[in-house]
């Protein structure tokens, strides 16, 4: 097992308790919240049935059915609350995964920087860990959806459910799920790839701060702002177009892709330089 893999395992192990807590919160909130929402609905239905005895079918023709999407949107706070929490926690950890090595009296950074391994492996292992944490939560959400659907089918009688609602259209049409799980695999790679680029840029800014302290903090912020400006500038130039600057959407897309790749390479190169030559404990 090479040292990069060992570092990845170490990074994952350091976070696993918090990660497990996030997973647990997600499970409890989503499943519990959906259960409560469905129960509340059925209580309402059964209450009506007690007052005016009728079949579920009659009820449905009078008051309508409860489609899966509506049930999910009624439970939206329970479903998306933990998603927001997880995103916030991971965003924070993008910073903490570095700074925790320096915080307090236990400067673990000494140990890591003295390892007989390329210093970039520290960078790669932290990046790998963050990517794995993010994708793990996405995978968890994907796996939870059929569970939600089953819970819905169990609690809501067939007469009150519209015909089949397969999950793929549900994800495609729900505005939030569609963002977490993009419609095509190509888009998944592009959007999460952009996320990897963003994390890489932030890591580079962090390394600037760790190398030059206060000056580095300013430098890091400027670097992040400059990177964002470079990525946004073609889009702004195009939409304010005099006709001769006009570029085709596909060309703009490829340009953005190219800029992203260049920014990634520059960030990685700069990070490598900082880690090997400038970083200070």
């Amino acid at each position: 097992m090479n040292r990069y893999v060992k570092l990845v395992l170490m990074e994952m192990h350091r976070f696993w308790k918090l990660y497990a807590a996030l997973i647990l919160v997600t499970l409890v909130s989503q499943l519990g919240g959906l259960y409560l929402t469905l129960r509340k609905y059925m209580n309402g239905v059964n209450g009506e049935l007690t007052l005016n005895p009728q079949t579920y079918t009659d009820y449905a023709s009078r008051f309508g059915k409860l489609p899966f999407e509506i049930a999910m949107s009624r439970a939206a706070l329970w479903i998306f609350g933990p998603v927001v929490l997880c995103i916030a926690a991971l965003l924070l950890y993008v910073f903490l995964i570095w700074y925790r090595d320096w915080l307090g009296k236990n400067t673990f950074a000494y140990r890591l920087l003295m390892l007989p391994t390329a210093r970039m492996n520290l960078f790669w292992s932290k990046l790998t860990a963050v990517i794995t944490f993010v994708l793990g939560l996405v995978a968890l959400q994907i796996v939870l959806l059929p569970v939600h659907l089953t819970l819905y089918r169990t609690l809501i009688p067939a007469a009150l459910r519209p015909a089949e609602s397969p999950l793929v259209p549900f994800v495609r049409h729900d505005p939030i799920f569609r963002t977490l799980v993009p419609p095509t695999f190509l888009e998944f790679i592009l959007y999460y790839g952009a996320g990897v680029l963003a994390v890489t840029i932030v890591f580079t800014a962090i390394l600037l701060e760790r190398s030059f302290r206060l000056k580095g903090l300013v430098g890091g912020i400027l670097y992040t702002v400059a990177a964002a400006a470079i990525l946004v500038s073609p889009i702004i130039l195009v939409t304010s177009g005099a006709d001769s600057l006009a570029i085709y959407p596909m060309e703009l897309f490829l340009l953005e892709l190219g800029l992203g790749v260049i920014l990634l390479a520059v960030s990685l190169g700069l990070s490598r330089y900082l880690m090997n030559r400038k970083i200070t404990v």
Binding site: N106, F108, Y110, P116, S211, I279, T280, V281
Partner: protein, 229 residues
């Protein structure tokens, strides 16, 4: 041989080290002496690649520092370098995992010598024990060189004697040692070469035994002469 040639370092605008030159040979204990804040720690960190230099060169056995040399040079800093939540035993496992030059038998030997308990968490260790753990982690690597930053600072006298006894044991033997201290009295008898630092430069370098024999002066005597000049 570790060669430090004309290194300089600035923090902010201030010059901390200016044109510092000395060398440390294998089988010798070289001591960097100076008051607190003179830059001794910085020299050790620079040798270990933990602090960039503004000028000068460092060569270890003729080569500049690269990742492989971390198996040949060990550093015992004056801060705790393991995460607070880790247990002593886990620290040893961690080192064994990452270093080919880790010597588990020596680690076990030092563990019992220093009377450290594997299940104890790093955060629960006293300052003395934490320093001993640091030393253990450095000494258990089969390295050619060992750098130690203030190994005795803030340690109780008994621990200090324990640590000092390590220097004369087989655990040091053929290694080249560079250590820094501002309390030379405890280990004067162990040191082979002394490098006196003052205001960021090397004021004097001498072999302790020679000076003792030829001039009848102790290291402290030389220090008084140099710093009061």
């Amino acid at each position: 041989m570790i060669e430090v040639k004309g290194i300089s370092k600035k923090y902010g605008g201030k010059s901390v080290l200016r044109d510092v030159t000395f060398s440390a040979e294998r089988g010798q204990i070289t001591c960097l002496i100076g008051i607190n804040g003179v830059g001794k720690s910085t020299v050790l960190k620079a040798i270990m690649g933990l602090a960039p230099l503004n000028g000068g060169q460092i060569r270890i056995d003729g080569k500049p520092l690269d990742k492989h040399l971390y198996e040949k040079v060990a550093f015992v800093p004056d801060v705790i370098t393991m995460p607070a939540s880790m247990k002593v035993g886990e620290c040893l496992d961690w080192m064994r995992d990452f270093y080919r030059s880790w010597n588990p038998e020596r680690a076990a030997e030092l563990l019992s010598f220093f009377r450290l308990n594997p299940p104890d968490r790093v955060s629960s260790l006293s300052k003395g024990n934490a320093s001993k753990l640091n030393l253990l982690l450095g000494l258990s690597l089969d390295t050619d060189y060992l750098l130690m930053d203030e190994p005795f600072s803030g340690i109780d006298i008994f621990s200090r004697e324990q640590i000092a006894s390590v220097f004369t044991s087989h655990l040091i033997e053929e290694r080249g040692v560079i250590l820094t201290t501002h309390e030379i009295s405890d280990i004067e008898h162990l040191v082979d070469k002394a490098v006196l630092l003052d205001q960021g430069t090397v004021r004097m370098t001498f072999m302790c035994e020679e000076v003792r024999m030829n001039e009848g002066k102790s290291v402290l005597d030389v220090m008084r002469e140099v710093y009061r000049a």
